[in-house]
Symmetry: C2
Subunit: 430 residues, 2 copies
Amino acid sequence: MQEKADKTAGKPLAAVMAELGEAARAAAWVLATTDTATKNAALRAGAAALRRSAEDILAANARDVAAAEEQGRPKAAIDRLRLDKKRIEGIASALEDIVALDDPVGTVIAEWTRPNGLDIQRVRTPIGVIGIIFESRPNVTADAGALCLKSGNAAILRPGSDSIHSSRAIHACLLEGLRAAGLPEAAIQIVPTTDREAVGHMLRGLGGNIDVIVPRGGKSLVERVQTDARVPVFAHLEGICHVYVDKAAKLDMAREVVVNAKMRRPGICGAAETLLVDRACPSDYLPALIDALIGAGCEVRGDDSAQRADARVRPASEEDWRTEYLDAIISVKVVDGVEGALAHIAHYSSHHTEAILTEDAVAAQVFLNGVDSAIVLWNASTQFADGGEFGMGAEIGIATGKMHARGPIGVEQLTSFKYVVRGSGQTRPK
Amino acid sequence: MQEKADKTAGKPLAAVMAELGEAARAAAWVLATTDTATKNAALRAGAAALRRSAEDILAANARDVAAAEEQGRPKAAIDRLRLDKKRIEGIASALEDIVALDDPVGTVIAEWTRPNGLDIQRVRTPIGVIGIIFESRPNVTADAGALCLKSGNAAILRPGSDSIHSSRAIHACLLEGLRAAGLPEAAIQIVPTTDREAVGHMLRGLGGNIDVIVPRGGKSLVERVQTDARVPVFAHLEGICHVYVDKAAKLDMAREVVVNAKMRRPGICGAAETLLVDRACPSDYLPALIDALIGAGCEVRGDDSAQRADARVRPASEEDWRTEYLDAIISVKVVDGVEGALAHIAHYSSHHTEAILTEDAVAAQVFLNGVDSAIVLWNASTQFADGGEFGMGAEIGIATGKMHARGPIGVEQLTSFKYVVRGSGQTRPK
């Protein structure tokens, strides 16, 4: 399989990767001034090619699935990998959703005029070249490629070896789209080998030809990327999200939101991992919240107060406060009001998403101001941490860093900007 | 001198630097929710302390100047270092200018409501901890410290050993200001040693306790920082700025703007280094532009056409197109229209600032769209590349990177943002 996965024709990897970078930069130059209609035409033609090529994609996918089964990969991983007609239709229609998004490039973010008559605009521009390193979900090939194209960036995709044949089959459809629209094929490239060293080359930035890296996958992938990358990274390592129930919360709302925040999909990054309950809450709150969680099928681990409130609660260890379970397990702790919640969150949060439940607007504002996370919610579930739910359209991921992109990373977050200054011959006085 | 410059009391440098980082992070936590009035009170009290302490600052500065003279430093470096009463007044009044700036923290950048009633705001927040590494200008201590404070960030300042005594005397005044306003002294810290290894610690991020580094100084400093930093850097390595005179330019305007762009202050990063002249310009343009430059005291190096246009033009080598002279020297090249100018700029520009001179709006738009630099100007001098001239207030520098900050870095560019979401108990449906 390694042999078939390698399309470098014996060329040294460093040369292969350098060429990818140079081709991407040249394509980015073209894309920076490509109009919206042309980019959309490429996406539409790509969607049509995906639908037309469904059988080829399924055949390629069957090879990946067979290899994964042979290697005894876990069932969940094989599920993420497996495509069917419905999933291919989903991938195609996701491209059309990206067509429908506003093109961020050229948008005037701010404009003002100086006393000397200079007109200054801050205008969105593409970033340049985005490197995407992902694992087993083959749909990332289409989603990430399309989001980069729409935002005027060239993409270099590095799929996991698990999904290499599926990803290549999908990539072939994107290339059909690019050709149909007269755009350079290097606008969306795929690394032509599964050699793991290719990732190292990307993390070093291909000689200045990758501007930002977006890793999509599990914690160990993101950790490696964040540790080794010499270029900026848009990512979150984990989502240790907290829900704080204040003494002024409504119990019914708190119960519903807490159960939703944990149990709607326990495996997503916006799922709650720790419930903090105000010590000053009415005495029925803590047992009611724990009972609701257990009733919904959640394992509860808690501090002494939580254990006293319900005999089914197992003791939480220090490790529990630091754990993203991504499963039907939650840790529960009693804290001293908003300040206690803020102190716990400052210590244990992964700066992703936190929520407060309260009817007290002052307490809410203290929490919203005090939490240093990408997303803070008042009286709503942490599971809303998602570009689509924010009305930003498709996202390439969620970032917890504070530089450039924070929170959902959609087409707008894949842009930079420049200052465009229009004058009438102004010179600067001494 | 090394002995007196070291205030680490024999503690290992790694421990000293780690403590600085932890103290900065704790101070940043306080600053993030400090109101504007308190931050401004600290700046005003700092300005008052600077005026009161002028004699002490001058005495400290005299030690730095004497050391520099003893080491035989160049006159320009000693000039940058030397303070007098007027310069101290300038430093104090610069703090008051920063008081007058709007506080960016808490500003709602965008707000929208989702169909399910969730209200989403994008709100400016401080970044956290900013590390500033600078060389001989002691005023950077006050400027950078004050800009960080105003934007709610903690600052870790690392002055060059040249200006260490002056910087410490100025820093003492900022501390007076912080104390007067009841703010933590660790809000603005100065590295207590001139040991060059301290810079290495800062570039590695002090264990996650520096969020961004801003280098202020010459090319070799910026180069080291950009190469070695493991945290984001806001900087420009150099400003190889181009002015393109299009065939549809007005000669009088072109002459004035070109001379200003090069000669107003040849040593600033926004000074023009290369003049590109459209081959289709009327035949009197090129000689007139060269004559005006030479008449203003500029040395001109040019391609064959430029040499033919004026016998005083020396031949330009390949190296000239890559050189930021920072001096009264310019390189001149004839190019084929806007496309020729864009190609030259794409190859040689440092992505700082470029200008087009033309009366042709279409040509201007092609240039403004096609140039990939922080600042692009139409019919105006490149010397306007400056936060103050942009109406953004004081700047800590100019960035040519595309991530987060690009162009002048003022208080707004020293902020990040978070999403604040207000609901009424919304849960996310399956």
